[in-house]
Protein backbone atom coordinates (compact mmCIF):
# COMPACT_ATOMS: atom_id res chain seq x y z
CA UNK A 1 0.00 0.00 0.00
CA UNK A 2 2.64 2.49 1.12
CA UNK A 3 4.74 1.50 -1.81
CA UNK A 4 1.85 2.12 -4.18
CA UNK A 5 1.13 5.52 -2.69
CA UNK A 6 4.78 6.47 -3.04
CA UNK A 7 4.90 5.34 -6.65
CA UNK A 8 1.83 7.42 -7.39
CA UNK A 9 3.39 10.46 -5.70
CA UNK A 10 6.59 10.00 -7.62
CA UNK A 11 4.81 9.84 -10.92
CA UNK A 12 2.84 12.99 -10.04
CA UNK A 13 6.13 14.75 -9.29
CA UNK A 14 7.63 13.43 -12.52
CA UNK A 15 4.60 14.58 -14.48
CA UNK A 16 4.77 18.03 -12.91
CA UNK A 17 8.44 18.28 -13.80
CA UNK A 18 7.76 17.16 -17.36
CA UNK A 19 4.90 19.64 -17.72
CA UNK A 20 7.09 22.40 -16.38
CA UNK A 21 9.75 21.53 -18.92
CA UNK A 22 7.22 21.32 -21.76
CA UNK A 23 5.68 24.66 -20.73
CA UNK A 24 9.04 26.36 -21.10
CA UNK A 25 9.56 25.07 -24.64
CA UNK A 26 12.92 23.79 -25.82
CA UNK A 27 16.19 25.67 -25.62
CA UNK A 28 15.98 28.98 -27.48
CA UNK A 29 19.44 30.27 -26.75
CA UNK A 30 22.41 27.95 -26.37
CA UNK A 31 25.78 29.16 -25.14
CA UNK A 32 28.85 26.93 -25.35
CA UNK A 33 32.22 27.74 -23.76
CA UNK A 34 31.67 31.47 -23.97
CA UNK A 35 34.66 33.56 -22.87
CA UNK A 36 34.72 37.34 -22.85
CA UNK A 37 37.84 39.47 -22.46
CA UNK A 38 38.01 43.21 -21.94
CA UNK A 39 41.61 43.75 -23.01
CA UNK A 40 43.64 41.41 -20.77
CA UNK A 41 40.92 40.99 -18.22
CA UNK A 42 38.74 37.92 -18.56
CA UNK A 43 35.15 38.83 -17.65
CA UNK A 44 33.48 35.51 -18.50
CA UNK A 45 34.96 32.03 -18.26
CA UNK A 46 33.70 29.04 -20.23
CA UNK A 47 30.01 29.67 -19.78
CA UNK A 48 27.73 27.01 -21.23
CA UNK A 49 24.00 27.14 -20.69
CA UNK A 50 20.67 26.54 -22.41
CA UNK A 51 17.97 29.21 -22.06
CA UNK A 52 14.39 27.94 -22.50
CA UNK A 53 12.14 29.53 -25.12
CA UNK A 54 9.04 30.39 -23.13
CA UNK A 55 10.27 31.18 -19.65
CA UNK A 56 11.96 33.85 -17.61
CA UNK A 57 15.58 33.12 -16.79
CA UNK A 58 17.16 35.22 -14.05
CA UNK A 59 20.89 35.93 -13.89
CA UNK A 60 22.04 36.66 -10.38
CA UNK A 61 25.41 37.29 -8.79
CA UNK A 62 27.50 40.00 -7.14
CA UNK A 63 28.60 43.11 -9.05
CA UNK A 64 31.30 42.33 -11.56
CA UNK A 65 30.42 38.61 -11.74
CA UNK A 66 29.85 38.73 -15.50
CA UNK A 67 26.07 38.46 -15.64
CA UNK A 68 25.54 41.72 -17.54
CA UNK A 69 28.50 40.93 -19.77
CA UNK A 70 26.88 37.62 -20.65
CA UNK A 71 23.52 39.31 -21.24
CA UNK A 72 25.19 41.75 -23.64
CA UNK A 73 26.74 38.87 -25.58
CA UNK A 74 23.29 37.78 -26.65
CA UNK A 75 22.60 40.74 -28.87
CA UNK A 76 26.28 41.46 -29.52
CA UNK A 77 26.31 44.71 -27.62
CA UNK A 78 29.86 43.85 -26.57
CA UNK A 79 30.85 44.46 -30.21
CA UNK A 80 30.52 48.16 -29.51
CA UNK A 81 33.03 48.09 -26.64
CA UNK A 82 36.58 48.57 -27.86
CA UNK A 83 38.95 45.87 -26.67
CA UNK A 84 36.12 43.44 -25.96
CA UNK A 85 36.64 39.96 -27.39
CA UNK A 86 34.15 37.08 -27.33
CA UNK A 87 35.00 33.44 -28.00
CA UNK A 88 32.90 30.29 -27.91
CA UNK A 89 29.50 29.87 -29.47
CA UNK A 90 26.06 31.38 -28.90
CA UNK A 91 23.15 30.21 -31.01
CA UNK A 92 19.55 31.33 -31.19
CA UNK A 93 17.35 28.64 -32.72
CA UNK A 94 20.58 26.87 -33.75
CA UNK A 95 21.79 29.90 -35.68
CA UNK A 96 25.26 31.17 -34.69
CA UNK A 97 24.84 34.82 -33.75
CA UNK A 98 28.58 35.48 -34.08
CA UNK A 99 28.57 34.29 -37.69
CA UNK A 100 30.31 37.13 -39.64
CA UNK A 101 27.58 36.96 -42.30
CA UNK A 102 24.89 37.73 -39.74
CA UNK A 103 23.26 41.16 -39.84
CA UNK A 104 23.73 42.62 -36.37
CA UNK A 105 20.91 45.13 -36.84
CA UNK A 106 18.52 42.27 -37.61
CA UNK A 107 19.86 40.36 -34.60
CA UNK A 108 19.09 43.29 -32.30
CA UNK A 109 15.54 43.39 -33.63
CA UNK A 110 15.22 39.71 -32.72
CA UNK A 111 16.85 40.23 -29.34
CA UNK A 112 15.37 43.29 -27.67
CA UNK A 113 16.79 44.98 -24.63
CA UNK A 114 15.44 46.94 -21.68
CA UNK A 115 17.91 48.83 -19.52
CA UNK A 116 18.24 49.69 -15.86
CA UNK A 117 17.26 53.32 -16.33
CA UNK A 118 14.23 53.97 -18.55
CA UNK A 119 15.58 55.65 -21.67
CA UNK A 120 12.72 56.74 -23.94
CA UNK A 121 13.66 58.81 -26.98
CA UNK A 122 12.88 62.53 -26.52
CA UNK A 123 9.93 62.08 -28.85
CA UNK A 124 6.23 61.43 -28.47
CA UNK A 125 4.94 58.24 -26.89
CA UNK A 126 3.69 57.16 -30.31
CA UNK A 127 7.01 57.84 -32.01
CA UNK A 128 8.94 55.96 -29.33
CA UNK A 129 7.08 52.79 -30.23
CA UNK A 130 6.75 53.48 -33.98
CA UNK A 131 10.46 54.13 -34.49
CA UNK A 132 11.62 50.51 -34.56
CA UNK A 133 8.89 49.06 -36.82
CA UNK A 134 9.40 51.99 -39.19
CA UNK A 135 13.17 51.61 -39.63
CA UNK A 136 12.83 47.83 -39.92
CA UNK A 137 10.08 48.27 -42.52
CA UNK A 138 7.56 46.21 -40.54
CA UNK A 139 4.55 48.39 -41.43
CA UNK A 140 3.35 48.94 -44.99
CA UNK A 141 0.86 51.68 -44.19
CA UNK A 142 0.00 54.22 -41.57
CA UNK A 143 -2.86 51.99 -40.39
CA UNK A 144 -0.44 49.09 -40.02
CA UNK A 145 1.90 51.20 -37.95
CA UNK A 146 -0.97 52.43 -35.76
CA UNK A 147 -1.96 48.82 -35.21
CA UNK A 148 1.59 47.84 -34.17
CA UNK A 149 1.94 50.82 -31.81
CA UNK A 150 -1.41 50.22 -30.14
CA UNK A 151 -0.94 46.50 -29.71
CA UNK A 152 2.59 46.99 -28.36
CA UNK A 153 1.37 49.54 -25.82
CA UNK A 154 -1.45 47.15 -24.94
CA UNK A 155 0.93 44.23 -24.44
CA UNK A 156 3.15 46.42 -22.29
CA UNK A 157 0.12 47.23 -20.12
CA UNK A 158 0.46 50.94 -20.86
CA UNK A 159 -2.26 51.67 -23.43
CA UNK A 160 -5.04 52.57 -20.97
CA UNK A 161 -2.82 55.08 -19.23
CA UNK A 162 -1.55 56.84 -22.36
CA UNK A 163 -4.19 56.47 -25.09
CA UNK A 164 -5.36 60.07 -24.68
CA UNK A 165 -1.88 61.54 -24.94
CA UNK A 166 -0.05 59.46 -27.52
CA UNK A 167 1.50 62.57 -29.01
CA UNK A 168 2.87 63.95 -25.78
CA UNK A 169 6.53 63.42 -24.97
CA UNK A 170 7.57 60.00 -23.65
CA UNK A 171 9.91 61.64 -21.18
CA UNK A 172 6.92 63.23 -19.42
CA UNK A 173 5.72 59.86 -18.12
CA UNK A 174 6.48 58.53 -14.64
CA UNK A 175 9.52 56.25 -14.21
CA UNK A 176 7.44 53.08 -14.19
CA UNK A 177 5.46 54.22 -17.25
CA UNK A 178 8.68 55.13 -19.05
CA UNK A 179 10.04 51.64 -18.37
CA UNK A 180 6.85 50.05 -19.74
CA UNK A 181 7.16 52.38 -22.74
CA UNK A 182 10.67 50.99 -23.29
CA UNK A 183 9.25 47.47 -23.08
CA UNK A 184 6.54 48.44 -25.62
CA UNK A 185 9.29 49.84 -27.85
CA UNK A 186 11.23 46.59 -27.53
CA UNK A 187 8.25 44.35 -28.37
CA UNK A 188 7.09 46.58 -31.29
CA UNK A 189 9.70 44.95 -33.55
CA UNK A 190 8.44 41.44 -32.62
CA UNK A 191 11.57 40.18 -30.91
CA UNK A 192 11.98 36.54 -29.89
CA UNK A 193 14.22 37.22 -26.94
CA UNK A 194 13.96 40.13 -24.50
CA UNK A 195 16.97 41.01 -22.36
CA UNK A 196 16.35 43.05 -19.23
CA UNK A 197 19.22 44.52 -17.27
CA UNK A 198 17.90 45.36 -13.79
CA UNK A 199 14.70 46.81 -15.24
CA UNK A 200 13.18 47.70 -11.86
CA UNK A 201 16.12 49.01 -9.89
CA UNK A 202 15.05 52.62 -10.44
CA UNK A 203 11.35 52.00 -9.73
CA UNK A 204 9.16 52.09 -6.64
CA UNK A 205 7.45 48.87 -5.42
CA UNK A 206 4.15 49.50 -7.22
CA UNK A 207 5.82 50.28 -10.57
CA UNK A 208 8.04 47.23 -9.93
CA UNK A 209 5.00 45.01 -9.34
CA UNK A 210 3.48 46.21 -12.64
CA UNK A 211 6.67 45.39 -14.53
CA UNK A 212 6.84 41.97 -12.85
CA UNK A 213 3.23 41.27 -13.77
CA UNK A 214 4.05 42.28 -17.33
CA UNK A 215 7.12 40.02 -17.42
CA UNK A 216 4.93 37.14 -16.27
CA UNK A 217 2.48 37.76 -19.12
CA UNK A 218 5.20 38.23 -21.73
CA UNK A 219 6.90 34.93 -20.96
CA UNK A 220 4.15 33.03 -22.74
CA UNK A 221 5.39 34.46 -26.01
CA UNK A 222 8.97 35.54 -25.45
CA UNK A 223 12.18 34.14 -24.11
CA UNK A 224 13.05 36.56 -21.32
CA UNK A 225 16.36 36.94 -19.57
CA UNK A 226 16.57 39.28 -16.62
CA UNK A 227 19.57 40.44 -14.64
CA UNK A 228 18.63 41.43 -11.12
CA UNK A 229 20.30 42.18 -7.82
CA UNK A 230 17.12 41.43 -5.93
CA UNK A 231 16.97 37.80 -4.85
CA UNK A 232 13.29 38.21 -4.11
CA UNK A 233 12.66 39.53 -7.60
CA UNK A 234 14.53 36.63 -9.18
CA UNK A 235 12.52 34.23 -7.00
CA UNK A 236 9.25 35.96 -7.91
CA UNK A 237 9.55 36.35 -11.66
CA UNK A 238 11.79 33.58 -13.01
CA UNK A 239 11.37 29.89 -13.71
CA UNK A 240 15.10 29.31 -14.16
CA UNK A 241 17.94 30.95 -12.30
CA UNK A 242 21.64 31.12 -13.11
CA UNK A 243 24.18 32.20 -10.50
CA UNK A 244 27.42 33.82 -11.69
CA UNK A 245 30.51 34.44 -9.61
CA UNK A 246 33.88 35.84 -10.71
CA UNK A 247 33.02 35.31 -14.36
CA UNK A 248 31.93 31.71 -13.95
CA UNK A 249 28.48 30.21 -14.15
CA UNK A 250 28.37 28.45 -10.78
CA UNK A 251 24.91 26.93 -10.83
CA UNK A 252 21.87 27.00 -13.05
CA UNK A 253 18.54 25.31 -12.42
CA UNK A 254 14.86 25.58 -11.57
CA UNK A 255 14.22 28.71 -9.53
CA UNK A 256 12.21 26.70 -6.99
CA UNK A 257 15.21 24.52 -6.39
CA UNK A 258 17.88 27.26 -6.37
CA UNK A 259 16.10 29.28 -3.69
CA UNK A 260 15.16 26.40 -1.40
CA UNK A 261 17.95 23.90 -1.88
CA UNK A 262 20.84 25.11 -4.01
CA UNK A 263 23.42 22.45 -4.81
CA UNK A 264 26.44 24.69 -4.66
CA UNK A 265 27.76 26.17 -1.42
CA UNK A 266 28.73 29.44 -3.13
CA UNK A 267 25.17 29.87 -4.45
CA UNK A 268 23.81 29.30 -0.97
CA UNK A 269 26.24 31.76 0.63
CA UNK A 270 25.36 34.41 -1.91
CA UNK A 271 21.58 34.15 -1.83
CA UNK A 272 21.43 33.94 1.95
CA UNK A 273 23.73 36.94 2.41
CA UNK A 274 26.80 35.25 3.89
CA UNK A 275 30.41 36.33 3.49
CA UNK A 276 31.61 35.55 0.01
Amino acid sequence: MNQQVRTAELSIAAQAAAQKQAGMGGAKVRARDVNVFYGDKQALKNVSVDIPARAVTAFIGPSGCGKSTFLRCMNRMNDTISGARVSGQITIDDEDIYDPRLDVVQLRARVGMVFQKPNPFPKSIYENVAYGPRIHGLASSRADLDEIVMSSLEKAGLLKEVQDRLHESGTGLSGGQQQRLCIARAIAVSPEVILMDEPCSALDPIATAKIEELIDELRENYCIIIVTHSMQQAARVSQRTAFFHLGELIEEGDTDEIFTNPRNRRTQDYITGRYG
Binding site: M231, T260, N261, T267, Q268, I271, R274
Partner: protein, 236 residues
Protein backbone atom coordinates in the same frame (compact mmCIF):
# COMPACT_ATOMS: atom_id res chain seq x y z
CA UNK B 1 28.99 27.48 7.72
CA UNK B 2 29.87 31.06 6.94
CA UNK B 3 28.25 33.81 8.96
CA UNK B 4 25.72 36.28 7.64
CA UNK B 5 26.98 39.69 6.66
CA UNK B 6 24.12 41.08 8.76
CA UNK B 7 25.01 40.06 12.30
CA UNK B 8 21.56 40.55 13.80
CA UNK B 9 20.21 37.95 11.32
CA UNK B 10 22.79 35.47 12.55
CA UNK B 11 21.80 36.24 16.15
CA UNK B 12 18.10 35.71 15.41
CA UNK B 13 18.79 32.29 13.92
CA UNK B 14 20.91 31.36 16.95
CA UNK B 15 18.16 32.59 19.28
CA UNK B 16 15.67 30.39 17.45
CA UNK B 17 17.85 27.34 18.14
CA UNK B 18 18.33 28.26 21.78
CA UNK B 19 14.57 28.59 22.27
CA UNK B 20 13.94 25.25 20.60
CA UNK B 21 16.58 23.62 22.81
CA UNK B 22 14.86 25.15 25.83
CA UNK B 23 11.43 24.00 24.70
CA UNK B 24 12.79 20.53 23.97
CA UNK B 25 14.33 20.40 27.46
CA UNK B 26 10.97 21.31 29.01
CA UNK B 27 9.21 18.63 26.96
CA UNK B 28 11.78 16.02 28.07
CA UNK B 29 11.32 17.00 31.73
CA UNK B 30 7.54 16.88 31.43
CA UNK B 31 7.62 13.43 29.85
CA UNK B 32 10.02 11.98 32.44
CA UNK B 33 8.25 13.53 35.41
CA UNK B 34 4.75 12.58 34.22
CA UNK B 35 5.73 8.92 34.32
CA UNK B 36 7.61 9.33 37.60
CA UNK B 37 4.37 10.74 39.01
CA UNK B 38 2.47 7.78 37.59
CA UNK B 39 4.93 5.25 38.93
CA UNK B 40 5.38 6.80 42.39
CA UNK B 41 1.74 7.89 42.64
CA UNK B 42 2.90 11.41 43.40
CA UNK B 43 0.04 13.88 42.87
CA UNK B 44 2.22 16.90 43.62
CA UNK B 45 4.68 16.01 40.90
CA UNK B 46 1.75 15.41 38.53
CA UNK B 47 0.39 18.88 39.32
CA UNK B 48 3.81 20.39 38.62
CA UNK B 49 3.94 18.69 35.21
CA UNK B 50 0.46 20.00 34.36
CA UNK B 51 1.52 23.52 35.35
CA UNK B 52 4.77 23.32 33.35
CA UNK B 53 2.85 22.81 30.10
CA UNK B 54 2.05 26.52 30.10
CA UNK B 55 5.73 27.35 29.73
CA UNK B 56 5.97 25.00 26.73
CA UNK B 57 2.97 26.63 25.09
CA UNK B 58 4.38 30.09 25.75
CA UNK B 59 7.66 29.16 24.10
CA UNK B 60 5.78 27.77 21.11
CA UNK B 61 4.03 31.11 20.62
CA UNK B 62 7.26 33.04 21.06
CA UNK B 63 9.04 30.93 18.48
CA UNK B 64 6.13 31.09 16.02
CA UNK B 65 6.00 34.88 16.37
CA UNK B 66 9.73 35.11 15.82
CA UNK B 67 9.52 32.98 12.68
CA UNK B 68 6.71 35.09 11.24
CA UNK B 69 8.67 38.27 11.93
CA UNK B 70 11.82 36.80 10.39
CA UNK B 71 9.94 35.77 7.24
CA UNK B 72 8.52 39.29 6.97
CA UNK B 73 11.76 41.11 7.68
CA UNK B 74 14.53 38.86 6.40
CA UNK B 75 12.85 36.88 3.62
CA UNK B 76 15.09 33.89 4.35
CA UNK B 77 16.21 31.70 1.45
CA UNK B 78 17.79 28.27 0.93
CA UNK B 79 19.16 26.77 4.18
CA UNK B 80 17.90 29.78 6.18
CA UNK B 81 14.41 29.24 4.78
CA UNK B 82 14.57 25.57 5.74
CA UNK B 83 15.85 26.62 9.16
CA UNK B 84 12.90 28.87 10.00
CA UNK B 85 10.29 26.59 8.44
CA UNK B 86 11.86 23.61 10.23
CA UNK B 87 11.67 25.53 13.52
CA UNK B 88 8.00 26.26 12.92
CA UNK B 89 7.28 22.58 12.38
CA UNK B 90 9.42 21.30 15.24
CA UNK B 91 7.71 23.51 17.81
CA UNK B 92 4.32 22.10 16.92
CA UNK B 93 5.64 18.56 17.48
CA UNK B 94 7.25 19.62 20.78
CA UNK B 95 4.01 21.27 21.86
CA UNK B 96 2.13 18.03 21.15
CA UNK B 97 4.70 16.07 23.16
CA UNK B 98 4.13 18.51 26.05
CA UNK B 99 0.36 17.96 25.78
CA UNK B 100 0.73 14.20 25.82
CA UNK B 101 2.96 14.45 28.92
CA UNK B 102 0.35 16.68 30.54
CA UNK B 103 -2.39 14.19 29.70
CA UNK B 104 -0.32 11.43 31.31
CA UNK B 105 0.14 13.58 34.43
CA UNK B 106 -3.65 14.01 34.66
CA UNK B 107 -4.00 10.23 34.55
CA UNK B 108 -1.35 9.98 37.28
CA UNK B 109 -3.59 12.21 39.41
CA UNK B 110 -6.63 10.05 38.68
CA UNK B 111 -4.97 6.79 39.72
CA UNK B 112 -2.84 8.10 42.58
CA UNK B 113 -5.03 6.38 45.18
CA UNK B 114 -5.27 3.03 43.37
CA UNK B 115 -3.27 0.05 44.60
CA UNK B 116 -0.74 -1.11 41.99
CA UNK B 117 0.10 -4.73 41.37
CA UNK B 118 3.91 -4.80 41.65
CA UNK B 119 5.29 -5.46 38.18
CA UNK B 120 2.62 -3.48 36.33
CA UNK B 121 4.82 -0.46 35.63
CA UNK B 122 7.95 -2.19 34.37
CA UNK B 123 6.91 -2.42 30.70
CA UNK B 124 5.76 1.18 30.73
CA UNK B 125 8.98 2.29 32.40
CA UNK B 126 11.05 0.70 29.62
CA UNK B 127 8.92 2.47 27.04
CA UNK B 128 9.41 5.85 28.68
CA UNK B 129 13.16 5.39 28.98
CA UNK B 130 13.31 4.55 25.32
CA UNK B 131 11.13 7.49 24.30
CA UNK B 132 13.20 9.87 26.43
CA UNK B 133 16.41 8.66 24.83
CA UNK B 134 14.91 9.09 21.36
CA UNK B 135 13.73 12.59 22.21
CA UNK B 136 17.12 13.55 23.62
CA UNK B 137 18.87 12.16 20.55
CA UNK B 138 16.61 13.99 18.12
CA UNK B 139 17.10 17.28 19.97
CA UNK B 140 20.87 16.70 19.82
CA UNK B 141 20.54 15.87 16.13
CA UNK B 142 18.74 19.19 15.62
CA UNK B 143 21.31 21.19 17.60
CA UNK B 144 24.22 19.58 15.74
CA UNK B 145 22.43 19.34 12.37
CA UNK B 146 23.36 15.66 12.50
CA UNK B 147 21.23 13.88 9.91
CA UNK B 148 22.76 10.45 10.65
CA UNK B 149 21.64 10.65 14.25
CA UNK B 150 18.21 11.86 13.09
CA UNK B 151 17.96 8.91 10.72
CA UNK B 152 18.87 6.49 13.56
CA UNK B 153 16.08 7.97 15.70
CA UNK B 154 13.69 7.66 12.79
CA UNK B 155 14.49 3.98 12.32
CA UNK B 156 14.41 3.16 16.05
CA UNK B 157 10.82 4.25 16.50
CA UNK B 158 9.93 0.70 15.51
CA UNK B 159 11.23 -0.46 18.90
CA UNK B 160 8.85 1.84 20.77
CA UNK B 161 6.03 0.42 18.67
CA UNK B 162 7.13 -3.13 19.58
CA UNK B 163 7.25 -2.23 23.28
CA UNK B 164 3.81 -0.70 23.00
CA UNK B 165 2.44 -3.92 21.55
CA UNK B 166 3.77 -5.92 24.46
CA UNK B 167 2.58 -3.42 27.11
CA UNK B 168 -0.85 -3.47 25.46
CA UNK B 169 -1.04 -7.25 25.75
CA UNK B 170 0.31 -7.21 29.28
CA UNK B 171 -2.28 -4.70 30.46
CA UNK B 172 -5.07 -6.65 28.77
CA UNK B 173 -3.90 -9.69 30.69
CA UNK B 174 -4.07 -7.83 34.03
CA UNK B 175 -7.56 -6.69 33.22
CA UNK B 176 -8.67 -10.23 32.41
CA UNK B 177 -7.11 -11.57 35.58
CA UNK B 178 -8.97 -9.18 37.85
CA UNK B 179 -11.69 -6.76 36.77
CA UNK B 180 -10.72 -4.46 39.65
CA UNK B 181 -7.61 -3.62 37.62
CA UNK B 182 -9.64 -2.29 34.71
CA UNK B 183 -9.78 1.35 35.87
CA UNK B 184 -6.07 1.55 36.56
CA UNK B 185 -5.05 -0.42 33.49
CA UNK B 186 -7.18 1.72 31.19
CA UNK B 187 -5.34 4.82 32.37
CA UNK B 188 -2.00 3.05 31.99
CA UNK B 189 -3.03 1.94 28.51
CA UNK B 190 -3.68 5.54 27.52
CA UNK B 191 -0.34 6.42 29.12
CA UNK B 192 1.35 3.83 26.90
CA UNK B 193 -0.53 5.15 23.87
CA UNK B 194 0.74 8.63 24.77
CA UNK B 195 4.33 7.41 24.69
CA UNK B 196 3.73 5.73 21.37
CA UNK B 197 2.38 9.04 20.01
CA UNK B 198 5.38 10.89 21.46
CA UNK B 199 7.59 8.45 19.53
CA UNK B 200 5.75 9.46 16.35
CA UNK B 201 6.28 13.16 17.04
CA UNK B 202 9.95 12.40 17.70
CA UNK B 203 10.23 10.74 14.29
CA UNK B 204 8.54 13.78 12.73
CA UNK B 205 11.28 15.93 14.23
CA UNK B 206 13.88 13.49 12.88
CA UNK B 207 12.38 13.93 9.40
CA UNK B 208 12.51 17.71 9.79
CA UNK B 209 16.20 17.56 10.81
CA UNK B 210 16.93 15.49 7.73
CA UNK B 211 15.12 18.07 5.60
CA UNK B 212 17.02 20.92 7.24
CA UNK B 213 20.35 19.33 6.45
CA UNK B 214 19.70 17.92 2.99
CA UNK B 215 16.76 19.90 1.65
CA UNK B 216 15.02 16.61 0.92
CA UNK B 217 12.58 14.36 2.72
CA UNK B 218 13.63 10.92 3.86
CA UNK B 219 12.61 8.63 1.03
CA UNK B 220 12.73 5.17 2.67
CA UNK B 221 9.69 3.47 4.08
CA UNK B 222 9.81 3.70 7.82
CA UNK B 223 9.38 0.34 9.53
CA UNK B 224 6.17 0.45 11.55
CA UNK B 225 5.57 -1.91 14.46
CA UNK B 226 2.32 -0.79 16.08
CA UNK B 227 -0.17 -3.63 15.65
CA UNK B 228 -2.48 -2.81 18.54
CA UNK B 229 -5.14 -1.37 16.26
CA UNK B 230 -5.88 -4.93 15.16
CA UNK B 231 -5.08 -6.78 18.39
CA UNK B 232 -7.77 -8.71 20.28
CA UNK B 233 -7.51 -11.22 23.09
CA UNK B 234 -9.29 -14.27 21.80
CA UNK B 235 -11.48 -16.25 24.11
CA UNK B 236 -10.13 -19.75 24.48
Amino acid sequence: MKEHIVRSYEEELALLDRKIAQMGGLAEDALGQAFDALEKRDPRLAEAVIASDKAIDRLQHEIEDQVVTMIARRQPLANDLRHVIGALRIVSDLERIGDLAKNTAKRALAVSQEPYPKPIMSGLRNMVERALRQLKDVLDAYAERNSDLALAVWRDDEQIDAMYNSVFRELLTYMMEDPRNIGLCTHLLFGAKNIERIGDHTTNIAEIVHYLVHGQSITDDRPKGDQTSSTLISRE
